[in-house]
């Protein structure tokens, strides 16, 4: 006869492994949270142009929308403009000195490297605020 108790006893290791696996996914998620550079302006503010969760998921769409608004319609407001993103999120170890935002471990690159997404912005766009 089929013994359920026996079956369950055998399944414990599998259940345990499964739990471990799920746990590791969440642990990973936690590690994925982007650290704001302590020397950036952003670290001193409580929120971005949109709530942080929203920005994490949708920043690319906001940037794309804004870029077309600016390029085709000449709308040059600060919200979601790449220039403002860089100005606020760039590390400033010393006054008037910046670490390129796409350098290893910096705000853009750290997350994009993690998810294997190449950033194309900085082949044309400046990666530090303009000091001129």
């Amino acid at each position: 006869m089929f013994d359920w108790r026996m079956q369950l006893q055998q399944a414990w290791p599998i259940v345990g492994l499964l739990l471990l696996f799920i746990g590791s996914v969440f642990a990973h998620e936690k590690a994925n949270e982007v650290e704001l550079s302590a020397s950036s302006k952003a670290a001193k503010l409580e929120a971005c142009a949109a709530p942080t969760e929203d920005m994490r998921r949708n920043h690319m769409d906001y940037l794309f929308h804004k870029r077309d608004q600016t390029m085709y319609k000449g709308i040059r407001t600060a919200d979601f403009s790449l220039r403002e993103c860089i100005d606020c999120h760039v590390s400033r170890p010393v006054a008037d000195e910046f670490v390129p935002i796409n350098a290893k471990g910096e705000f853009c690159e750290s997350c994009h490297e993690e998810v294997g997404q190449k950033i194309d912005c900085f082949s044309c766009h400046r990666s530090t605020p303009d000091e001129h």
Binding site: K73, I75, R76, R83, R126
Partner: protein, 255 residues
């Protein structure tokens, strides 16, 4: 709404207010030096076809050997001398958004010089031939390249009768924040769209020590450029092509 998000928005609002006060003050101060041609468009409003930006160059006032307009363009847009522009490419192929041409007539020996840049045509051949729609004309008549869509095919460079466009062959760095530029894209004079949108004049116009360039809205009969166009005799280069250029030249000797 949590108290946290209220403090977010309060902080953002404070930041914006402070920024508005600072930029407003700066504009007031800077405004003293500019010939104001029109009230600046509010940042959040799109450009409209009610305006058509134009440029009038008075060649007879243009200084011989003076290239202040070109240097100002280079500094403003980050190309040419002082930039990270192409070090290894053919010198004839490097970016030139604006050139100062010396024109010599061998028949009577007369010479004159003029600045040549994108003429911001109404029916622009570059826009016509672009296979991806990257080359486009803004509602206010400024012809631009959308580098996000440009595939670098250079059809527009061949189509342009003024040789106004350039192609970037090498990786660039240290661009100006308001003027992204990069390898594999075509580029040309933007009529300083980033300045115009903020109510300023193009860098070349501001830099001209001879007052030979007038910038403004040709659709507005009261603008300085419209009044000058009505007063002095001017012409388009290659008028025979029927492109209705936005840049006009006065004082070119009749041959």
């Amino acid at each position: 709404m949590s108290t946290k998000s209220i403090s977010h928005s309060a902080q953002l609002a404070k930041r914006r207010l402070l920024k508005a006060a600072v930029t407003g003050g700066a504009a007031l101060w800077a405004g003293q030096g500019y010939k104001l041609f029109a009230a600046a468009k509010p940042d959040e409003q799109p450009v409209t076809s009610a305006v058509r930006w134009g440029l009038l160059v008075n060649v007879s006032q243009c200084g011989d050997g003076c290239d202040d307009c070109v240097t100002a363009c280079q500094a403003e847009n980050g190309w040419g001398s002082g930039s990270s522009d192409e070090q290894q490419s053919n010198a004839l192929q490097v970016a030139q958004w604006m050139r100062k041409l010396d024109v010599h007539n061998p028949l009577d020996g007369s010479t004159f010089s003029l600045p040549l840049m994108c003429q911001h045509c109404d029916s622009a051949p570059c826009v016509d031939v672009c296979p991806t729609g990257a080359s486009f004309k803004r509602a206010d008549g400024i012809v631009l390249v959308d580098r996000h869509t440009c595939i670098g095919c250079r059809y527009c460079m061949m189509a342009c009768p003024y040789k106004a466009r350039s192609f970037v062959h090498e990786p660039l760095f240290d661009q100006r924040a308001h003027q992204p530029r990069g390898k594999g894209c075509v580029e040309s004079c933007t009529l300083c769209a980033h300045r115009v949108d903020k109510g300023k004049q193009p860098a070349c116009v501001e830099a001209c020590p001879h007052g030979a360039m007038v910038f403004g809205d040709v659709n507005d009969p009261n603008s300085e450029i419209s009044q000058q166009l009505a007063k002095v005799s001017s012409r388009e280069l290659r008028k025979n092509l029927g492109l209705n250029a936005g840049v006009r030249y006065a004082g070119i000797p009749v041959v």
